[in-house]
């Protein structure tokens, strides 16, 4: 089967590399592209046109110019939203990496059956309804909730602490949601590491400590970076969890956008904030793609 894939990819290679050998006719050149039309038309009409329309409103409404952007960066209430967004996304990324790393490591190393179970737990948590999980955290973290009760029973705290309707709740809930997005790429990277390399390290006299920092961690880097970058990007654009677990005083950018549209009908400001979020997302995603070894439809390079 593997041979068949390679054969297929090699067969695609020269053709797609583009008219070096001979110039194909126009019909030949666009062969098979007609099948793209339905989806292209659909996305064009319902995704690209509205998206561009939305982004344009930021420089057109209420008056043409960069007024909305000026306000976005000058008004201290708005800059606070930006600071919240980035600090929460950063914190969530760090926490989910710290929790995801040992889990991915254990999945790679325990006997196959156990590894399968751990992986299933990760997948179950990932595919369980987002709203259901967020609701669950809302109940768990409320002041009369289980977490506060357990902490009080253990004598760690004397009185219930506020863990929802503030950024603490947002960070806990989002870190929980993001762990699978770290574990899955990282586990794939670790799985591909040749154990012999680590053995070689220890034979050459490296202590487990040195071996971990100088050999194992650098080998995990690609999975770690792409997972962390993806989590950071996703965290910047998350709405549901911050809206339910967070408070009205500590908004993040997505909540701010919805609020401007729904409560204030201020499309210009919403659109400026949206353009900022799209720009950051696309730049970070471009970096993410640069970290990927190969493109999914790409030719064998």
């Amino acid at each position: 089967m593997k041979v068949a894939i390679n054969a297929l990819q090699n067969a695609q290679g020269p053709g797609a590399a583009g008219g070096v050998a001979r110039r194909p006719g126009l019909g030949q050149r666009w062969k098979g592209s007609r099948n793209l039309l339905p989806a292209l038309l659909f996305l064009g009409l319902f995704f690209f046109v509205p998206l561009i329309g939305l982004l344009l409103r930021g420089v057109l409404e209420p008056v043409p110019g960069l007024g909305n952007y000026e306000q976005l960066f000058a008004n201290s209430a708005y800059t606070r939203v930006l600071v919240n967004t980035f600090s929460v996304a950063g914190l969530v990324t760090v926490i989910s990496v710290l929790l995801g790393f040992p889990l991915a490591w254990a999945i790679t190393l325990v006997p196959r059956g156990w590894g399968r179970w751990l992986l299933n737990i990760v997948l179950l948590s990932m595919w369980t309804s987002l709203l259901a999980r967020t609701y669950s955290w809302l109940v768990l973290l409320q002041s009369s909730g289980v977490v506060n009760k357990v902490l009080m029973a253990l004598g760690i705290i004397d009185a219930p602490i506020e863990m929802v309707h503030n950024l603490t709740g947002v960070v806990i809930g989002m870190s929980y949601i993001m762990i699978p997005f770290i574990v899955l790429p990282l586990q794939a990277t670790m799985h591909a590491i040749d154990p012999m390399v680590l053995q070689a390290g220890s034979i050459c006299g490296a202590s487990p400590w040195t071996n971990f920092w100088k050999v194992f961690l650098p080998l995990c880097r690609s999975g770690l970076f792409s997972g962390a970058l993806m989590v950071f990007v996703m965290s910047l654009g998350y709405y549901v969890t911050p809206a339910l677990l967070g408070g009205a005083q500590n908004m993040m950018l997505p909540e701010f956008i919805i609020q401007q549209v729904q409560s204030f009908l201020n499309w210009g400001m919403a659109s400026a904030a949206a353009a900022l979020l799209v720009a950051i997302t696309l730049v970070l995603f471009y970096l993410y793609l640069k970290l990927q070894p190969e493109s999914p439809v790409g030719n064998a390079r």
């Binding site: 894939i5 297929l8 990819q9 030949q28 050149r29 062969k31 098979g32 592209s33 099948n35 339905p38 989806a39 659909f42 996305l43 319902f46 995704f47 509205p50 998206l51 329309g53 939305l54 409103r57 929790l99 040992p102 490591w105 254990a106 190393l109 751990l118 997948l123 948590s125 595919w127 309804s129 987002l130 709203l131 259901a132 609701y135 669950s136 109940v139 768990l140 409320q142 909730g145 289980v146 009760k149 929980y176 670790m190 590491i193 680590l198 071996n211 194992f216 654009g237 549901v240 339910l244 997505p254 956008i257 919805i258 919403a270 949206a274 979020l277 995603f285 493109s295 999914p296 439809v297």
Partner: protein, 269 residues
Amino acid sequence: MLLSPNAMGRPLRTGLYLTTGVIAAFLLLPVVFIVLLSFGSSQWLVFPPPGWTLKWYGQFFSNPEWMDAALASLKVAVLTTIAAVALGLPTAFALVRGRFPGREMLYGLFTLPMIVPLVIIAVAVYALFLKLGYTGTLFAFVVSHVIVALPFTIISIINSLKLFDQSIEDAAVICGASRLQAIFKVTFPAIRPGMIAGGLFAFLVSWDEVVLSVMMASPDLQTLPVKMWTTLRQDLSPVIAVASTLLIGLSLFVMFIAAALRRRAEANA
């Protein structure tokens, strides 16, 4: 040695296993908790519950609002699945088999809805449908869900189409089948796992979609997540735990199907 548990050394191994146990428990906690809570008798969600009951399930199934929402969810999800597979199938064929320039860029374009934050898609589509007067219609729900479901179906179908050797289809044509016949009778059955996986993804994406749905919803038409969302903002009623449990049950069911399909595909390979 850091990758073989036996050579790792006891303290490190014990430490890692303990940490893993705690993190796995952390991942399971909210899922198990919500299921238990849906059977608990306390209105105030006291845990552990003072007793066990099915009364919240009774309330869920006897309340026409919840039932309408569940039915609407199902309708939207099924229509989204059909539309996403129908649009994704020709796209995947063109991207895998086409020989035209810019395929890489087009692939990026088609997966863009997966990357652009949902909030922004929701606001953009909402603005469009507001202008057209379509908000709160079934059409608006399905269209907005298809936008985000489409990348999943395209990717799944591309993956299985790349595994399929086109010369088998050519062989059918040489043996006298028309190209269309060959595609329907030979290629489609061969890439069925990818089509089904893509359909399942589309279904789950639509079934669980909150942000787009909240923007598209009207008092007359709302899906289950929208109903949960609006109820959640008023109180934490145990009926939401019931709805959550049903959503979890469905996810488990779909995961189970996906796993069974994967096993069958592996057995065939």
